[in-house]
């Protein structure tokens, strides 16, 4: 399934190696100024993919022809004097859970191997309208269920910081592609932390927008009340530009909310958080948190104080139950959503020999097409929703969800944003947790509350622990996504200044 490209050697100038290190904003500015063509930027990304993706395995599908055609169109229209958008000509890696015409959509699953969606997700049509260049589809845990990308049916992705370690998940391909300089931007999706955790362990900026802020049309559903697409990038400004490009009301998604998109790009550039009230969540610390993670997080919080923020400790007592509630709610919705993979209308069909009935074909197809984690969650969700257990499990989890939202509401009466580590540990070795689902689930301990309550959250590089990236998570109330970018932009600038360079500059060369 992995069809790596064999693009012709680049004919771009000697600067090609540097082109892939440009931020999205700098790439777009160079293209707009005529210093770089969109074709050169795209070819540089394709060459980088050809060079490093055998090692990283971020991409499931590369589309050199489509990418170069989109880039040529940008160059032609620029030459004709057309005014282009702020990301025109910038290459992007798309998580393979969003549909895009002309490319396969597998969701990292055998059950959709070779399937081509007949329509674009709204996120994708907005990216095309913004003249963003789609390089191809990137790897993920099957149907976005996992925290390591090891649950992909097409093999794991590796962390560019240490290729023996996981890149996080489920948007591990998105994070690895950006951290390995295969693309300056990627789209991921986040149901329980699947953008923020990979961003944290790969040293990137990753944002889960407010639920309802970005259309889910064309995002293959795992847990419909929690799933949300968002940006991964190397800087806060780049993430803001991508966020602004994909956000906004969409009549094709009835859970999309018709409110103005928060001014995220402006917020990213403000760089002044004097007087801002920051709450450190007491419950997201302590036992189980790696000492290196705690140290990097504490240093980042100290920096917020240095920048003039008022930092206080805040208690959110029900956050300690968020993981348990999530692992009832998400599998319950999953067991319902994944019923659509029934071997009848799309994807794999196994055992249709002319004799077997539909139910047997369905059962054999789902056995062959789903991997172990998906099966675990379908069975768990079926159990939690079954009569006799519904009230004790799913019903009770929904009540805990209410209490978590109330904890957030009470906290946001005292402070403007909340912070915590993004993950309890840095990237763990490949294979370390594949046979221990409960240990794997703990990766999402800090990120899940925002999914349950719907508010936006960002992971930003805080520093290193034993040479591996650590993220600080910033959480805001629903539809106050701009606060993430305000705090993120100021903190990124201060941490980069203290270090003398961006964190990603310390990643080993590939």
């Amino acid at each position: 399934m992995t069809d790596h490209p064999t693009p012709s050697p680049t004919t771009t100038p000697a600067a090609a190696a540097d082109v892939v290190h440009l931020t999205a904003a700098a790439t777009a500015a160079a293209i707009a100024a005529g210093e770089l063509s969109a074709v050169e930027a795209t070819q540089a990304a394709l060459d980088r993919i050809a060079k490093v993706d055998d090692t990283i395995h971020a991409f499931l599908h590369v589309d050199p022809e489509g990418a170069l055609a989109a880039a040529r169109s940008v160059d032609e229209r620029r030459a004709a004097g057309e005014r282009l958008g702020p990301l025109a000509g910038v290459p992007l890696a798309l998580k393979d859970v969003l549909t895009a015409r002309g490319m396969p959509t597998t969701c990292g699953s055998r059950i959709l191997e070779g399937w081509h969606a007949p329509y674009d997700a709204t996120v994708v049509s907005r990216l095309r309208a913004a003249d963003v260049v789609l390089l191809g589809k990137v790897n993920m845990d099957e149907f976005a269920m996992g925290s390591s990308t090891e649950n992909s049916a097409y093999g794991p992705t590796r962390n560019p910081w240490d290729t023996t370690r996981i890149p996080g998940g489920s948007s591990g391909g998105s994070a690895a592609a950006v951290a390995a300089f295969e693309a300056p931007l990627a789209i991921g999706t986040d149901t329980g932390g699947s953008i923020r955790q990979p961003a944290a362990v790969c040293g990137l900026v990753g944002v889960k927008p407010t639920y309802g802020g970005v259309s889910r049309y064309g995002l293959v559903a795992f847990s419909s009340s929690l799933d949300q697409a968002g940006p991964l990038a190397r800087t806060v400004t780049d993430a803001a530009l991508l966020h602004a490009a994909i956000a906004g009301h969409d009549p094709l998604d009835s859970t999309s909310v018709d409110v103005p998109v928060p001014a995220v790009v402006e917020a990213a550039g403000r760089r002044d958080i004097r007087g801002l009230r920051v709450g450190v969540v007491r419950e997201l610390a302590g036992e189980g948190y790696d000492p290196g993670v705690q140290a990097a997080f504490a240093a980042a919080v100290e920096t917020l104080t240095d920048l003039g923020a008022e930092v206080v400790e805040v208690s959110c007592p029900h956050f300690t139950y968020a993981l348990a509630a999530y692992y009832l709610i998400a599998p319950s919705e999953c067991s319902s959503n994944l019923a659509r993979f029934d071997a009848m209308r799309f994807g794999l069909r196994v055992g249709d020999d002319g004799q077997a009935g539909a139910e047997e074909v369905m059962s054999r197809t789902r056995e062959a097409g789903f991997g172990p984690e998906v099966k675990r969650r379908i069975i768990l969700g079926t159990y939690a929703l079954s009569s006799g257990y519904y009230d004790a499990y799913y019903g009770q989890a929904q009540k805990v969800r209410t209490l978590i939202s109330r904890d957030f509401a009470a906290a946001f009466e005292q402070v403007d944003v909340l912070v915590s580590p993004t993950t309890p540990t840095p990237a763990f070795p490949l294979g370390a947790k594949v046979d221990d689902p409960v240990a794997m689930y703990l990766s999402d301990l800090c990120t899940i509350p925002s999914n349950l309550a719907g508010g936006p959250a960002m992971s930003l590089p805080a520093g290193l622990a034993d040479g591996l990236p650590v993220g600080i998570q910033i959480m805001a109330p629903p539809f106050a996504d701009d606060r993430l970018y305000l705090v993120g932009g100021a903190l990124e600038e201060a941490l980069d200044a203290r270090r003398g360079h961006a964190l990603l500059d310390e990643a080993p060369a590939l």
């Binding site: 139950y321 539909a358 789902r366 099966k375 209410t402």
Partner: protein, 98 residues
């Protein structure tokens, strides 16, 4: 609250998903461990707390009843495992013995 191997097999049947003996052997203890971890939700006193099914307070989203472009039949059928006469072809749905 425990979950037995037989219960897992029953749940797999309800999910229309065949599982092998080896899978059952692996799944039963894993689900047991997951359930004992998530059973923590019952520790929360929440008798009078309303449930939240959705983070966005939206109900009854309507749109004007107007036709708009949609997929052609050929596009809708293009990803199907089998088609016949412009329709999805499916295995028999009735048991011949019934």
């Amino acid at each position: 609250m425990g979950i037995t191997r037989d219960e897992v097999a029953h749940l797999a049947r309800l999910s229309r998903m065949s599982v092998t003996d080896d899978e059952l052997d692996a799944l039963a203890p894993q689900l047991e461990a997951i359930l004992s971890a998530v059973a923590r939700v019952s520790e929360v006193a929440a008798a009078d707390i309303p449930p939240t099914s959705h983070a966005v307070p939206l109900t009854n989203v309507f749109r004007p009843d107007v036709a708009r472009p949609s997929l052609t039949a050929a596009e809708a059928l293009a990803g199907a495992p089998a088609t016949e006469d412009g329709r999805f072809r499916v295995p028999r749905i009735l048991d011949p013995d019934e």
